[in-house]
Structures are given as C-alpha cells and as structure tokens.
C-alpha cells in the first residue's frame, strides 16, 4: 500500500513532466486564441492591432481558399486512409501466412516508414515522378507513351501515393500484430465446421481486427491532418494541393496575417480534438483492462 510519504514523493516526481506539458499546451494555446481575436499583421505596423471579435473566424471560412482546402484535405486524408487500410489488411494477411524468409520480407515492407518525410517526398518527386528524367517517365517512353507531369497534372493522386507509401507499413505492422494475436483454434474449428475462407474472413478475422483498424484510422487521421513536408517539398501548395494545414501555414508565416492564420489554427485544433476524443476513448478503455 502506498504510504502518505510515497504519495507526496510521487507527486514531486511527476511535477516536472506535468508542469512542462501544461506550459507547452497552455501558453501557445492562449496566445493563438488571443491573436485570433485581433487584427495582427506584424509586417505592416501602420495597421493598428485591434480587437475584431469573431471577424478572423468568419473571414477564414468565407475566403475563396477555404472550401478548396477543406476538400483537398478530405480527399488526401480519405484517400490515404482507404488505401492504407485496405492494402494494410491484405498485406497483413499475406505476411501472416507461412513462407520462406518471413522476417526479411517484413523488413522490406516496414522500411518506408523510417524514411524521413523530406527524403520520401524528394525521392518520389525527382527520381520517380519527374516528367523528364524520372523512373516513370523512362518507363512510359520505353512503352511509346507520353510522359505524365504527375505533380502538376495529378497533384492529389501523386501526393496520396507518396503519403500512402509512407503510412502503409504502419497500418500493416499494427494489423499484422493484431492478426497474430488471433486465436488459431477458433479459426481451425470454423474451418472444420466447413466455413469457407470468405466467411471465415468476414465473421472471424475482420471482427477481430476491428479495434486495430479503428486505432490505425484514428492515429493516421491525426498525423495526416497535419502533413506538411510532403506538400512543402513537392508542390508548395500549388496545382490544387493546398490542405488546411498548408493554408494556415501560408497565412501565418508567408503572408504574416497572424490574426487570420490563428483563427484557422483554432479550427485545426478543434478538428484534431474531435478525432482525438474517439482515439482517447479506445486507449482509455484499454488502460482499465
């Protein structure tokens, strides 16, 4: 049993971590909130800083760039989620089968996750998608086809491809871990009862994977809403590839319209928190078990 003495010691041991995280969360958050209610253009000091109420919030959602950015964000996040979840389940099922060199294949599949985002973006942009010297351009020309300007003509598809390549290993690894915890006896019993593979997949494997798939979905959503380097390095937000995150970044740092950008930041925080709430509920349930 914990004594009074050890309780106060424990509190003391937690104090630095709690204080740091509290400061890290509250100070910038309060500042962002404060800026979001003001007119604030640091590069143009002749424009007075004033309280403008919800003006920034209204202007952010009514600007021409807002709805396209929402659409782009939804397409990229939705596209990457669909690709990584579907291919991830398939790949996890394949990797779970008996084979030669299983460990080595796992290493190959997981590798892209460890490549830093700026490297993945640049290697796809230049070595593969470049319309003149890229790998795909060479292959297309060899087949007698015209090279494709991937990043300008198909910017969203290209970015989805790059980001899916980065995140497929993550989904696969987690789903594989979940599949391996599946009770083999249950599967064998179903097989002996004459259940064919599709029905075993639908009735036993998929329900078992449900929680892992939800976790993958939520964690990826939080990270994908914030992808930055992949766009910064490839298109810089042009060719219709400007996500909400990128739009806010441009408002704040490029055009230095801090008030407007901060209002956008508050929207991003609210959005991330809605997703996070679902994730936390699952994680919290697991903590009790």
């Amino acid at each position: 049993m914990a004594t009074q003495h050890s309780r106060s010691a424990a509190r003391l041991m937690m104090a630095p971590a709690v204080t740091l995280l509290l400061g890290w969360m509250l100070v910038p958050l309060v500042m962002t909130l404060y800026f979001s209610f003001r007119k604030y253009l640091p590069l143009r000091p002749e424009i007075a800083q004033d309280w403008v109420g919800f003006d920034n919030y209204i202007r952010f959602v009514t600007s021409d760039a807002f709805w396209p950015a929402v659409q782009v964000t939804l397409i990229i996040v939705g596209g990457v989620l669909a690709i990584t979840l579907i291919l991830g389940v398939g790949l996890a099922l394949i990797l779970d089968q008996p084979m030669w060199g299983q460990g080595a294949v796992r290493v190959l599949v997981i590798a892209p996750f460890f490549v830093m985002p700026t490297v993945s973006a640049l290697l796809w942009k230049n070595m593969f998608m470049d319309p003149v010297n890229g790998f795909f351009a060479h292959v297309l020309r060899a087949l007698g086809l015209a090279p494709i300007e991937f990043l300008s003509q198909h910017s969203l598809g290209s970015i989805i491809t790059i980001v899916s390549w980065e995140w497929l290993p993550f989904a696969t690894l987690i789903l594989l871990t979940a599949i391996q915890s599946l009770d083999q006896e249950q599967l064998e019993a179903a097989e002996m009862d004459g259940a064919r593979w599709p029905s075993r997949f639908v009735h036993i494997i998929l329900p078992h994977l449900g929680r892992a798939m939800t976790v993958v979905l939520l964690i990826q959503t939080i990270f994908l809403l914030g992808i930055f380097a992949e766009i910064f390095v490839t298109t810089q937000g042009s060719f219709g590839s400007k996500t909400l995150t990128y739009l806010i970044y441009q408002r704040v740092l490029e055009s230095q319209n801090v008030g407007l950008g901060s209002a956008g930041g508050v929207y991003a925080i609210i959005l991330a928190n809605i997703v996070a709430m679902f994730l936390m509920r699952i994680v919290g349930k697991n903590l009790d078990a």
């Binding site: 500042m31 294949v105 985002p117 950008g261």
Partner: protein, 276 residues
C-alpha cells in the same frame, strides 16, 4: 503458429509476399543504386543506369561538403538530446504513476496524451514568436526543447506500460529484505526496466530524427538537421540525382537500421498500448 501447409502453397506465399515487399522497398533500393552512379548516368533510363559503372564520387562530394557534416551532427545532437532530456523528465513521472498510482493517474495519462494531439500549425506563430524573443531561432537547444516536449507524452506512455509490467511483489520483497529506495531503484528496478528504456530511446530517437515540421520551420543554416538539409535540395538548382541520392541514403541509413530493431516497440509506442 506454425500451420502445416503444402510446400506448393508455401512457395506461392513466398513468391507473392516477396514480390510485394520488393515493390514497396524498390524506391529505397533505387536511390541506393543511383547514389553509386555518376551524375551523368543517374538521369539515364533505368537499364542504362544499371549498366553504368559504379562509383563512390557522390558520397565523396556530399561528405566533402562541410554543410552535410554539420547537418548530420545537428541531427545526432538534436535527436539524442531531446530523447535523453525527455527521459530525465519522464522516468520519475512514469515510475510514480506505475508504482504509486492514485485515483487521478489515468486522467493525468490521458491528458498527457491529449497534448500530443495538438496540431503544430495551430501553435506555430506563438512558438515562432517565443523563439525570436528568447533567441532560440536556429539553435540546437531550441529544437531539442521543442522535440522533447512533442515526444514527452510518448516517452512517458511507453515507460509507463513497461514499468507496469514489472511485478510489484518483487519490489515489496526487496523492501522486506531491507533495501532502501536507492537500492530498490538501482539493483531491482533498473535491470528489469532496461529493455523497456532501450526501446523507448530507440523509438524516440527515430521520431525526433524524422520530425519534419518544426525542424523545417524553426531552423536555418546553423542548426538545421538532415531533414532541412534534404529539403534544401527541393529547389531546381540543387537538382542532382546522384548527390541527392547519396545524401538521402546517408540520412536514412542509420534510422533504417535502428527501425528494423524496433519493429515490436513501434506498435506499442505508436498505439499507446491499444494494440499489443
């Protein structure tokens, strides 16, 4: 686990899995190949690239550039520094929550996790302002601090789940045998926690090494790690396939090796124990 299958089935599995694995790995393999070719050969068609002579010249050029070495050092200092500083803060906190849990422990853990969900872009300008006024812009210590704070919730969570697996009875037995807090921590707890500590360090060094928002926005020439160095190749005048490949291979190789060792911990660390 080892299910009995016919050799034919096993051969088919092997073929399918290796094909997919090689396709996914191919982009990395390709820059590896390009990095050993001359600049002129690297832009040729794939078959011509393979036939071109192998050379180390790109590595020599990239390593000879003083800025590569500087950025590499920055990456090492920043990822190790932020992880070790994070451990310093996280170990006592995780220890306290795992061994002296209170009614609020779960709430505190959940709240810590929630700080990880804060989108960086939402707090970009305040952090930027603070960095300017504290003269932290483009300094390694500034990045160490930010990356430490970003990864602190993950470090605490991972350590907490590892510590919780250490049976409390062992600690009590040690206490009964007259071990003080110091002996308890040094001789009982540390040896048992070491594997968990090692995996936590490994995963967080990887995460810090690859972080590509704050490292791009808060640094310039002086403190920029490899993420920023590689991003500088995105401008057209810096477009040299062989050199870019060599620089990329050197930037990702240490992490690829570390990552292969940390596969299992990766799942635990990134799902906060929700998938085991």
């Amino acid at each position: 686990m080892a299910r009995a299958v016919t050799p034919r089935r096993k051969a088919l599995n092997t073929l399918i899995a290796w094909t997919i694995g090689l396709i996914l790995f191919f982009p990395i393999l390709w820059i590896f190949i390009l990095s050993f070719k001359s600049e002129g050969a690297a832009i040729l068609s794939p078959l011509e690239v393979l036939r071109a002579p192998w050379t180390l010249e790109s590595y020599q050029i990239v390593q000879g550039r003083s800025d590569y070495f500087g950025h590499f050092t920055n990456s090492v200092v920043i990822s190790l520094g932020s992880t070790l500083l994070g451990l310093l803060v996280a170990v006592p906190a995780a220890w306290a929550m795992a061994f002296v849990p209170s009614a609020r422990t779960k709430d505190i853990l959940m709240w810590m996790l929630s700080t990880k969900m804060l989108p960086a872009v939402g707090v970009l300008y305040p952090i930027y302002l603070m960095f300017i006024s504290l003269h932290l812009l483009d300094t390694r210590i500034g990045l160490i601090l930010v990356l430490m704070l970003i990864n602190l919730p993950i470090i605490i969570w991972m350590l907490y789940t590892y510590f919780r697996e250490i049976p409390g009875e062992i600690l009590e037995a040690a206490r009964m045998d007259g071990a003080g807090l110091r002996e308890e921590v040094l001789h009982v707890l540390t040896p048992m926690a070491l594997p968990g500590l090692a995996s936590t360090v490994l995963l967080n060094v990887i995460l810090a090494w690859n972080e590509a928002f704050w490292t791009l926005k808060l640094t310039a020439a002086k403190a920029g790690p490899l993420t920023a160095f590689i991003a500088s190749y995105s401008s057209p005048e810096g477009l040299f396939y062989a050199k870019l490949s060599a620089a990329s291979v050197m930037a990702i190789a240490p992490i690829l090796v570390m990552g292969w060792f940390s596969q299992k911990q990766l799942v635990r660390g990134l799902t906060f124990g929700a998938v085991k």
